[in-house]
C-alpha cells in the first residue's frame, strides 16, 4: 500500500489509512509472530479512494 506523500491536504480516508499502517507497523515490531504475506492485494492510493468517494456522491 502506497500513500501519496505530496498530497497537500490528506483526505479523511487517507489519514485513516496512514493511522492503520502506523498501527500495523507497531504491531509487527512488537510482536514475535510474522505478519501474513498475501499472494496479492490491490494497489490503492488516494486517487482510487477519491474517485470512489466521488462516484458515491455524484455517480448514482
Amino acid at each position: 500500500m502506497r500513500l501519496m506523500r505530496d498530497s497537500p491536504v490528506p483526505s479523511k480516508a487517507v489519514r485513516r489509512l496512514k493511522a492503520e499502517v502506523k498501527l500495523e507497523l507497531e504491531y509487527i515490531r512488537g510482536n514475535p509472530l510474522k505478519s501474513r504475506v498475501h499472494y496479492t492485494k490491490p494497489y490503492i492510493t488516494e486517487l482510487e479512494v477519491e474517485y470512489a468517494t466521488d462516484a458515491a456522491r455524484n455517480g448514482g
Partner: protein
C-alpha cells in the same frame, strides 16, 4: 426553460459517501467481504428471512434462483405479461418457456384468477412480480401453487418497503429477489439480492454464484459444476449498508410522495393510481397514473405535455409478449391497453411539493 424534474435519483448522504470511501480505502485483503457480509446479514434481518445473498443485479439473483431450482428445458414458468424484460431473460437463458398472462387492471400485477387455466404438466413455477411497488394477491397465488405443487417466486425488484398482511414483499415465496439499481428506493448503483428461508436453496445459490465450487471443496480452483458469478463488490455493499440503515426513512418518503400525488389527483376524473388494498402497504417505488379507457387521454399526449414542461416522462412497461422475440398474446388486454394511457410520475426522495404541483398541473392541463 423550466428546471428539469427527473423521474428518479438516489438519496445519498454523508453516510453513504463515508462508507464507500472506507470500503475503497480499507476494504481489501481480509476485509474484502466485510461490507458484503454485513449487508447480507442486515438485509435478511430487515426482511425477516433466514438467508440473503448480495448479487450484481436482480437479474443475477433471479438467474441464480431459477438455476438452483433446476428450471430448464421443457419447463414452463407462468408470469405477468407486464414486466421488465429482466424478469423473463433468465428463464430464456436457462432454456425454459415463459407463459405470459394478463394483469389486474387495479394492481397491474399478475391476475391470479387466470393462472390455473395456464397450468399444465410442464409448469414449474409462478413469478409474482410486485409491479412498481404494488403487491400481487399473494394468498391466492400461494394457494394455487400449493394445489398444483408449484413454486412461487417473488420478483420484488421494485417492492422494498411493501408489506402484504404483515409480511414484507420478497419474504413469502420460495425465494425473492431485489434490485438496487440507481433508480430504486435503496441503491448500490447496480446490484441485487437473493433471499430465501430455504437452506438447501441458499446453499445451491452460494455454490452456483461461486462458479460451481462446492461449499466443502478444499481443492483450489476446482469447480464441481458449471456455475455463474453474479457477485456484488464490497464498495457497492458499503453504499448498500448505509442505505439499509436509512431504509425506514427512504421507504416512508416514497409512500409519502405517492400519497401526496393521490391527494393532488383526487379531483382529476378517470384517473387511477397505485392501489393500496386493505392489509397491505404499497412499496410506492413508481407512482403511476393510468387513465380509464374512453377518457381520451393517451400516453403520447402525456409524454408530450411532460416533455413541454421539462418533466421526465417514463412509459409504463410494454407487454413482454409484444417484444420481437416473443409471440404476441393480445388476449392479455390490460397488459396491451394500459401502457397506451399511462405514465410513471417522478418520485425521487428529494422532490419538492412545488415540483409535485408542477407535475399535477401538467396532468390537469390535459384534462381541463
Amino acid at each position: 426553460m423550466k428546471q428539469k424534474i427527473p423521474y428518479s435519483k438516489p438519496s445519498i448522504t454523508s453516510k453513504e459517501i463515508a462508507y464507500a470511501s472506507d470500503a475503497a480505502a480499507n476494504g481489501w485483503g481480509e476485509k474484502c467481504y466485510d461490507y458484503i457480509n454485513k449487508f447480507e446479514v442486515n438485509f435478511a434481518e430487515y426482511l425477516g428471512v433466514n438467508y440473503a445473498v448480495a448479487t450484481s443485479s436482480c437479474t443475477g439473483a433471479l438467474t441464480l434462483g431459477f438455476a438452483a431450482m433446476g428450471i430448464g428445458p421443457g419447463d414452463e414458468v407462468i408470469m405477468a405479461d407486464t414486466n421488465w424484460v429482466a424478469t423473463v431473460s433468465p428463464i430464456i437463458h436457462l432454456g425454459a418457456k415463459p407463459v405470459f398472462i394478463d394483469i389486474s387492471s387495479d394492481t397491474w400485477c399478475i391476475d391470479e384468477k387466470l393462472i390455473e387455466s395456464k397450468i399444465n404438466k410442464n409448469t414449474k413455477a409462478i413469478i409474482a412480480t410486485h409491479l412498481y411497488g404494488s403487491l400481487c394477491e399473494m394468498d391466492n397465488i400461494v394457494a394455487i401453487a400449493k394445489r398444483y405443487g408449484l413454486t412461487v417466486i417473488e420478483d420484488s425488484a421494485e417492492a422494498i418497503g411493501a408489506v402484504y398482511r404483515g409480511r414484507k414483499a420478497g419474504s413469502i415465496g420460495r425465494f425473492g429477489t431485489f434490485s438496487f439499481h440507481g433508480t430504486k428506493t435503496i441503491t448500490t448503483g447496480e446490484g441485487g439480492m437473493f433471499v430465501t428461508n430455504n437452506e438447501e436453496l441458499y446453499h445451491k445459490v452460494l455454490v452456483l454464484n461461486s462458479h460451481g465450487r462446492g461449499l466443502q471443496q478444499k481443492k483450489q480452483f476446482w469447480a464441481d459444476e458449471i456455475g455463474f458469478k453474479f457477485k456484488m463488490s464490497n464498495v457497492q455493499a458499503a453504499i448498500g449498508c448505509a442505505q439499509l440503515e436509512r431504509v425506514e426513512e427512504l421507504t416512508k418518503r416514497k409512500l409519502d410522495i405517492l400519497h401526496m400525488y393521490k391527494e393532488l389527483t383526487s379531483m382529476i376524473p378517470n384517473l387511477h393510481m397505485n392501489s393500496e388494498p386493505a392489509g397491505t402497504v404499497n412499496g410506492a417505488w413508481m407512482p403511476t397514473v393510468v387513465f380509464k379507457e374512453g377518457s381520451g387521454i393517451t400516453r403520447k399526449e402525456l409524454q408530450q405535455v411532460f416533455f413541454d414542461e421539462n418533466i421526465d416522462a417514463r412509459a409504463f412497461f410494454w407487454p413482454l409478449s409484444a417484444l420481437p422475440m416473443f409471440k404476441p398474446v393480445p388476449e392479455n388486454v390490460n397488459a396491451f391497453s394500459i401502457p397506451e394511457r399511462a405514465i410513471n410520475l417522478p418520485s425521487f426522495h428529494d422532490i419538492t411539493e412545488s415540483e409535485q404541483l408542477r407535475i399535477i398541473a401538467a396532468l390537469k392541463s390535459l384534462t381541463s
